[in-house]
């Protein structure tokens, strides 16, 4: 299975949200990483067939998805970043409704609804009205909905936002379990979500794909560029102006900071092994500076 994104762009009135984005995805988990407003959601909406690209095509095994129509959505699971649930439905009714929208027959739907409820750990709350659900429970139900038809292509937009650590781990494991024979595209700001499961990371900035690579390669690319040093309180603001500063931690002997820089920022700086967070800083901090 091969999902080909071919030079797609999306322009809103005066805003270019996605700019000639091209990528080819095969089975596995892909992480879409980028700052707010990078165009992740817009890209995913086009992949979920609820928005049309201004230009470009999306192909599944060389077939244009806009021509595949129902057949494409039949193998698609989509969790939007923002969505609402019917307040006076309970989880069973909600999932049964989506099961029928996804074309599952009645018998199949019944067992499948129970299965996905179990996957997201909501069996106990399955008879409760959705208006009584907490934020995290709603998102889990959204995930359950996306999984109903056992999709070959799963697109999840910030699926872990609002989940507690335990549920986040559960979701991460769920993804790596099912990712073997399907394409999963996941966007997030929480880099630890993807650390262990992403086959590749797509870095997106201002609508463009700026980097695409495995996690190892990304970490390699910032090797020898991450530093740790202790500074005085007074020097901090100056450093923040000239370097990409990560964690700032108060220690007994002043302040310990983490800096991502091509050159050694200060004589007493120690080189440390990079994390994905450093990668994120390395690629996106500049933008943050521009925005300020």
């Amino acid at each position: 299975m091969r999902l080909t994104i071919e030079k797609i762009s999306k322009t809103f009135k005066d805003k270019q949200a996605v700019t000639t984005f091209s990528a080819e995805l095969t089975e596995g988990v892909y992480a879409l990483l980028g700052p707010n407003g990078a165009g992740k959601t817009t890209l995913m909406r086009m992949l979920a067939d609820i928005m049309k690209p201004s230009s470009g095509r999306i192909l599944l095994d060389d077939k244009d998805i806009s021509l595949m129509g129902d057949h494409y959505r039949d193998i698609l699971g989509y969790l939007p970043q923002e969505f609402g649930l019917y307040k006076n439905f309970n989880a069973i009714r909600f999932l049964s409704y989506f099961a029928s929208l996804k074309g599952l027959d009645k018998e199949k739907a019944k067992t499948r609804v129970e299965e996905v409820l179990k996957l997201v750990n909501l069996q106990k709350d399955r008879k409760r009205k959705l208006r009584t659900y907490s934020g995290g429970m709603k998102r889990r139900l959204g995930i359950a909905q996306a999984l109903l038809n056992d999709p070959k292509i799963l697109i999840v937009d910030e699926p872990t936002a609002g989940l507690d650590p335990q549920e986040r781990v559960r979701f991460r494991n769920l993804l790596s379990e099912i990712a073997g024979d399907r394409i999963v595209l996941l966007s997030t700001h929480i880099v630890t979500d993807i650390e262990y499961i992403a086959k590749e990371v797509l870095l997106m900035r201002q609508g463009e794909l700026i980097q695409r690579s495995t996690i190892e390669k990304l970490l390699e690319s910032v090797e020898e560029k991450v530093w740790k040093c202790s500074v005085e309180q007074g020097a901090l603001s100056q450093l923040q102006k000239s370097y990409k500063v990560g964690n700032i931690q108060r220690a007994e002997s002043g302040i310990e900071i983490r800096i991502v820089s091509d050159v050694k920022p200060m004589p007493n700086a120690l080189s440390v092994s990079p994390t994905l967070e450093d990668v994120y800083l390395y690629f996106f901090e500049k933008e943050a500076e521009e925005n300020v």
Binding site: F12, R45, A48, D49, I50, M51, K52, G69, D70, R73, D74, L76, Y78, P80, E82, F83, G84, L85, Y86, K87, N88, F89, R93, S96, Y97, F98, S100, L101, K102, G103, G142, Q145, N149
Partner: protein, 386 residues
């Protein structure tokens, strides 16, 4: 899917609340027959006169009415007491007055019916009319001839009320409840932000539309049936029974000038059918607006304006030719039904007169098909921006 779509509509409490309010209104509405009709005196006389009327019978009634009138006048003169405007009459006199004046006015209807036929006869000869006008006159004349002489003396108050309900209260209640009930059908998926979930599913672009239309029809059917059953039940409670449904439609006061050869019963069935059809067409309009505006409130007001404005024009008596066309071919007129049948109206189509009801119903059949197409088309091509 169908079950849940129905669930979405039928669990809205505001609809039940509005419906109950309307029913309550119907119940407390004054009505029923006037006391005099229920007296034995009236009933005896009514039985005697009931049925088709001959010339002599009508003359007799007129004569008796005159006698009665004279007697009342005399009594009036004799009455000293100025406080009493009408002298007290006996029940018998009141009943007689009632029967004879009814028969007398039926006599006048028969006269003007004859007169109308003669006028039409004249018009068909075409000395003062255009070719089309005489064509139209011929059509009407044929219909009147087929009708024979429809008038007779019958007590049709109960039927009159039942039929009248269609063009007044049923029109208002159904329209409001349909607009209220169906405005959110598509729009709420946006306000509840469930639309992106739906549209990314296999059946989220076509079958969902069919299902929502079916659920909306289910709502309309239940509303329609319940409302009319309640009405008939209320009329029966007021009048005891619906009598004389098998007499010609022209014996209902509202349809004296109708050229259609129908019994009251037949008309009632046809009118219900047309009103039901109109309900569906209005339902489709609301669904379409619900898709386009993506906003339930806006849908409610726009539908209200589209349906209500022509009705308002009519009530205000605005009658510029163009406005009149708009009014005649409006959702409201179709929904009220009465205007289709209460007099002869025809429009020229390729120089041939076509009856208004035929034209109106055909027009709205086309409108329904077009709306249906637009609904599917519009929904399919919609994009989700937020």
């Amino acid at each position: 899917m169908y079950k849940q779509e129905c669930y979405k509509i039928f669990t809205r409490k505001s609809l039940y609340f509005a419906f109950l309010l309307f029913v309550l209104f119907m119940v407390i509405l004054p009505g029923g027959s006037t006391p005099i009709i229920q007296t034995d005196e009236y009933q005896t006389l009514y039985e005697e006169w009931r049925g088709p009327l001959s010339r002599t019978e009508i003359d007799l009634a007129n004569q008796k009415l005159e006698e009665l009138q004279n007697r009342i006048d005399q009594e009036m003169e004799q009455t000293e007491d100025l406080e009493v405007v009408f002298p007290p009459q006996s029940i018998e006199e009141q009943a007689a007055f009632r029967v004879y004046s009814s028969v007398a006015s039926i006599g006048r209807y028969i006269d003007s019916f004859q007169q109308r036929k003669e006028d039409l006869q004249e018009a068909t000869r075409g000395s003062t009319t255009t070719a089309y006008e005489s064509e139209e006159a011929r059509l009407e004349l044929n219909m009147l001839n087929e009708l024979g002489q429809p008038f007779g003396f019958y007590n049709t108050t109960a039927w009159g009320n039942t039929v009248d309900f269609i063009n007044v209260f049923a029109f208002i209640i159904l329209t409001i409840l349909i607009v209220l009930g169906l405005s959110p059908v598509f729009a709420d998926e946006h306000s509840q932000k469930s639309i992106s979930l739906i549209r990314s599913t296999k059946h989220g672009k076509r079958k969902i539309v069919t299902t929502k239309i079916l659920a909306s029809c289910t709502y309309i059917v239940s509303l329609f049936v319940t409302l009319h059953i309640i009405n008939v039940a209320l009329e029966v409670r007021k009048f005891g029974a619906l009598m004389d449904g098998t007499v010609p439609l022209q014996n209902l006061f509202l349809f004296i000038q109708s050229p259609f050869s129908l019994t009251i019963w037949q008309y009632y069935a046809i009118a219900l059918g047309i009103q039901f059809f109109a309900s569906l067409v209005i339902g489709l309009l609301v669904l379409f607006l619900s898709i386009v505006t993506r906003n339930g409130m806006l849908t409610f007001f726009i539908s209200g304006a589209v349906i209500g404005t022509p009705f308002l024009f009519r009530q205000l008596g605005i009658d510029q030719p163009f406005i009149q066309y708009v009014t005649q071919f409006s959702y409201a007129e179709l929904m009220r039904v009465k205007g289709l049948f209460d007099q002869f109206v025809a429009f020229p189509l390729f120089d041939q007169p076509v009856l208004y009801p035929v034209l109106l119903i055909s027009t709205f059949l086309l409108v329904a098909i077009l709306t249906m197409y637009l609904i599917y088309h519009q929904y399919k091509n919609q994009q989700i921006m937020n």
